[in-house]
């Protein structure tokens, strides 16, 4: 067909040319001028907002700098160095106060001659944690084992002094506790009981093995190796290394803060995984008890948990037990943290596509193996940012132990505010400024880390 011969269409739907005047080209938002128009001075409202913002910056930042840096006192030996009437100028932060209290902030009332032990623990922790944080460093498995398995035991021995003189292993009251004799701080009665309990456990494992689809030999071997690990740990805390005992009442400051936060995470991780698996179990009793446990601890404030652990728990245990104050707080924190950890892990388990479960089952894996080999490795990798966020929360929550009279970082500072040797008008602000900086550096650093990790995971999950 020849298109040229067709009549021009009646274009009634085309707007007449003069309906609207042509609009000018939109203002450019390129270049410095354009950028500042878009982000600073685009309209009257924008200008007002910018001015308001600048005003806020002006009234906050310069006074803070003036207080903490320019007007601050940097050296001196006592409160006189920080009194404006003594040194004849306006005084900002009183940093000599922090130097004077620095050892307390780091170690609490830990005996001065034994502080090297705390330093070793700090150093070991940093040395083991740093390579764990960077995904590129190899030997993750060994590293994680060292940090989560060996490090806590070593730290425990170093910090408390070890040599617990354990004397009853589950079989108290059977007459076995009367066996006398001890070697290098180890009581014979205890270790005889331990061996008997190991035998009993092996027998039970052999009996129950077929129910769980395993061989009797394998079950006994597994039980034996579990007990061997337990024995190693117990041996480490029971042996006399010649370290002086340091009671936890003497601990304090950053040491207590870190001990509580790290213990909370290390204990809550396995417990949380168990609870999360329990919550997704098909067995009604397991499922219900997991849900009740998780929801109970998540529903109450941490401070009630600490009070529960401090005042109620001792009543629930046989009268001959007296539990250390810090240990009580640790139990409370661990229970509380595992409930939150369980929810984080559950999120990871739910994010694993159903195909993974079905694939594992199609390969003939039993549910335990399926979880261990297929599901958990993927789920745990997904929830690392969540675990870090949990740790940030826990780190902030450790401050609560000062209410049950344990002196953490904040507690030590609060106690040192009452020191008359440093009573100056700016002591309080200096102390809060310093503690705030410490908390901020820890929490902000960790949150940045978790964000970076999230981004990385997000990228590696993309197809």
């Amino acid at each position: 067909m020849n298109t040229a011969t067709r009549p021009a269409p009646q274009a009634a739907f085309v707007a007449p040319k003069d309906l609207r005047p042509q609009e000018p080209a939109p203002v450019s938002n390129r270049g410095i001028y354009g950028w500042s128009r878009a982000h600073l001075f685009g309209s009257v409202g924008q200008v007002l907002l910018t001015l308001l913002g600048i005003l806020v910056v002006y009234v906050t930042i310069p006074p803070l700098l003036k207080f903490f840096i320019f007007d601050a006192v940097w050296s001196g030996a006592g409160r006189d160095a920080c009194l404006p009437e003594k040194i004849g100028r306006p005084v900002g932060a009183c940093w000599p106060f922090i130097y004077a209290k620095f050892n307390q902030i780091l170690y609490g009332f830990y005996p001065e001659s034994e502080r090297w032990r705390v330093n070793v623990v700090y150093f070991l922790g940093a040395a083991l944690l740093a390579p764990l944080l960077f995904p590129k460093v190899p030997y993750k498995r060994v590293n994680a084992l060292a940090f989560f398995g060996i490090y806590p035991v070593v730290s425990f021995v170093l910090l408390t002094g070890g040599n617990l003189s354990l004397n009853n292993f589950l079989l108290g009251g059977t007459g076995l506790e009367n066996i006398k004799g001890s070697v290098a701080g180890l009581r014979l009665s205890y270790w005889v009981q331990f061996i008997i309990v190991t035998g009993l456990a092996c027998a039970i494992a052999a009996l129950a093995a077929p129910v769980f689809g395993g061989s009797r030999r394998g079950a006994v071997r597994g039980t034996l190796s579990t007990f061997a690990i337990i024995a190693l740990v117990l041996l480490a805390v029971d042996l006399d290394f010649g370290l002086q005992e340091v009671e936890t009442r003497q601990w304090g400051g950053l040491l207590v803060t870190l001990v509580i936060a790290v213990t909370g995470i290390v204990v809550s991780l396995p417990l949380g995984i168990l609870l999360a698996l329990g919550r997704r179990s098909n067995l009604p009793l397991v499922k219900i008890s997991s849900i009740v446990f998780i929801e109970f601890w998540r529903g109450v404030p941490l401070i009630t948990v600490l009070f529960f652990a401090t005042y109620m728990l001792p009543l629930f245990l046989p009268g001959r037990f007296t539990i250390d104050g810090l240990l009580r707080a640790l139990v409370g924190v661990a229970l509380f943290a595992s409930a939150y950890m369980a929810e984080v892990v559950r999120g990871g388990l739910q994010a694993i596509p159903k195909g993974q479960y079905e694939g594992a089952q199609a390969m003939g894996l039993r549910s335990g193996l399926m979880m261990r080999l297929v599901i958990l490795p993927q789920a745990l990798k997904l929830v690392i940012p969540g675990i870090v966020n949990n740790f940030i929360g826990l780190f902030k929550d450790t401050t609560l132990v000062l209410i049950v009279s344990i002196f953490d970082l904040l507690g030590i500072l609060r106690a040192s505010f009452t020191d008359p040797a440093w009573a100056t008008p700016t002591t309080l602000f200096t102390g809060f400024g310093f503690a705030g900086l410490v908390y901020f550096v820890f929490c902000y650093g960790m949150s940045r880390y978790s964000m970076a990790l999230e981004k990385r995971l997000d990228r590696s999950n993309r197809h």
Partner: protein, 430 residues
């Protein structure tokens, strides 16, 4: 063809097997059940033995005993001779008060900061980000102690209180109106300024002292007018919606309702000759007489909780708004909606679906974190009950159980409400 079919063998009774899943689950559950029962029983037995040894009577009878301690902030009448049960109630109300006000303040602040973080304006955006990072990364207890020990304790003593009054404002208004030629308004403000001579709000290291409103009998009608206005705006809203559905005509429901709810009580109030007077606090000796004193413990707890939680709420709000895809805004614009209705009808309803669940858990966090008031001595449920009462009676089990039960109840009620809301707003997927 039919012979090619193979027939399935008749189902035989399954033989008993060690690896039967039913047996396995029975074994696990029975073992867990026995362990739980053993744990509960040993806790119970140990507790009984320990209590008997310490000579503590168990039971809830102590709730009727006279408490014998004073409480610095009471919303209902309370005196030392009243029972522990009454003290519990006072504490519960104090907890609810600080939680309620904290929720309101944190929501307002959080929404403002959250929106500011999405602002085009880089200065505002940077400030909002700084606010979020600083407040979220400092422990709440640190913030409470900071406000209490460092800021509020640095206020002057009662005799040198900072006073604030409305007189300067009224004088300024009077001058302005007189200056621009509105003499009658000017003189009205001049007389008002005379009425409020002297400051009426005081700040000192014992807290905040504000005038106490004294209601006369006629004030009931103002309250009635308020509720009538709410009912009326509700009815107007329904009528306006029906009319819009029928005719397409819109009605300014919001402004009408706002005018009614604010205006009607004020009109009624003035019509009745203002049936409320303010009892102004006055300095007598070393302290203030009259007025209402807001204790510094309350102020520091409220400030710290709302500032801390607002940081989290800001992040939730930001995430919620970002979760609404840009296509929704563009589609709304291409339908011809102006930016106000686009926000109100398209963006906010969808953002709320994302915002509300984490927001509720933040509200719950405020309620739970209000227990931190015990560190500065704010008499909330926890401080009164698990603190003072526990010290006096020693009945740890009952008291901690009651305290935990209260917070647990609040949590469970909130999460049930949340579940109901989620079901209501859940996307209907096809």
């Amino acid at each position: 063809m039919t012979d090619a079919r193979w027939s399935e063998p008749a189902p035989t009774r399954r033989r008993w097997s060690w690896t039967d899943p039913a047996l396995r689950s029975a074994v696990i559950q029975i073992a867990l059940g026995i362990a739980l029962i053993w744990l509960a029983w040993s806790f119970f037995a140990n507790a009984q033995a320990n209590l008997a040894r310490q000579g503590i009577a168990s039971g809830f009878g102590f709730l009727d005993n006279s408490a014998g301690f004073g409480i610095t902030q009471t919303l209902i009448p309370y005196s030392e001779s009243m029972s522990y049960g009454r003290a519990f109630l006072v504490g519960l109300l104090n907890t609810l008060l600080v939680a309620f006000l904290g929720i309101i303040l944190a929501t307002i602040l959080g929404f403002l900061v959250g929106v500011a973080r999405l602002s085009e304006n880089v200065v505002i955006k940077a400030l909002a980000s700084a606010y979020v990072e600083v407040t979220r990364n400092l422990p709440p207890l640190f913030q409470i102690l900071f406000w209490y020990l460092a800021v509020l304790a640095a206020m002057p003593n009662p005799r040198q209180s900072w006073g604030f009054g409305l007189q300067p404002l009224f004088n300024f208004l009077a001058d302005t109106f007189a200056g621009i030629g509105l003499a009658p308004l000017g003189s009205m403000f001049r007389t008002l300024a005379g009425d409020v001579a002297g400051p009426s709000v005081f700040v000192n290291n014992r807290g905040l002292v504000v005038p106490r409103p004294v209601f006369e009998s006629g004030f009931v009608w103002v309250v009635v007018a308020f509720f009538v206005a709410i009912l009326a705006s509700f009815l107007i809203g329904r009528w306006a919606k029906a009319r819009q559905l029928a005719t397409g005509q819109q009605f300014p429901v919001f402004w009408t309702g706002f005018g009614l709810i604010v205006g009607l009580p004020i009109v009624v109030c003035f019509a009745l000759g203002v049936p409320v007077t303010l009892e102004k606090p006055a300095l007598q000796g070393f302290n203030f007489v009259g007025g209402v004193r807001v204790i510094p413990e309350f102020v520091s707890l409220l400030l710290a909780l709302s500032i801390y939680t607002a940081g989290f709420i800001a992040e939730i709000v930001r995430a919620g708004i970002l979760a609404v895809s840009k296509g929704q805004t563009e589609a709304a614009k291409s339908l011809g909606l102006r930016s106000g209705p686009t926000l109100r009808l398209v963006v906010i309803p969808q953002a709320m679906r994302v915002i509300v669940p984490p927001l509720t858990s933040q509200y719950l966090n405020i309620t739970k974190n209000s227990t931190l008031g015990v560190a500065v001595g704010y008499p909330d449920l926890f401080a009164i009950f698990a603190g003072t009462t526990l010290n006096q009676t020693g009945q740890a089990i009952e008291i901690i159980a009651i305290t935990m039960a209260v917070y647990l109840t609040i949590s469970i009620l909130t999460s049930m409400l949340m579940g109901w809301y989620n079901k209501r707003v859940a996307l209907v997927e096809r």
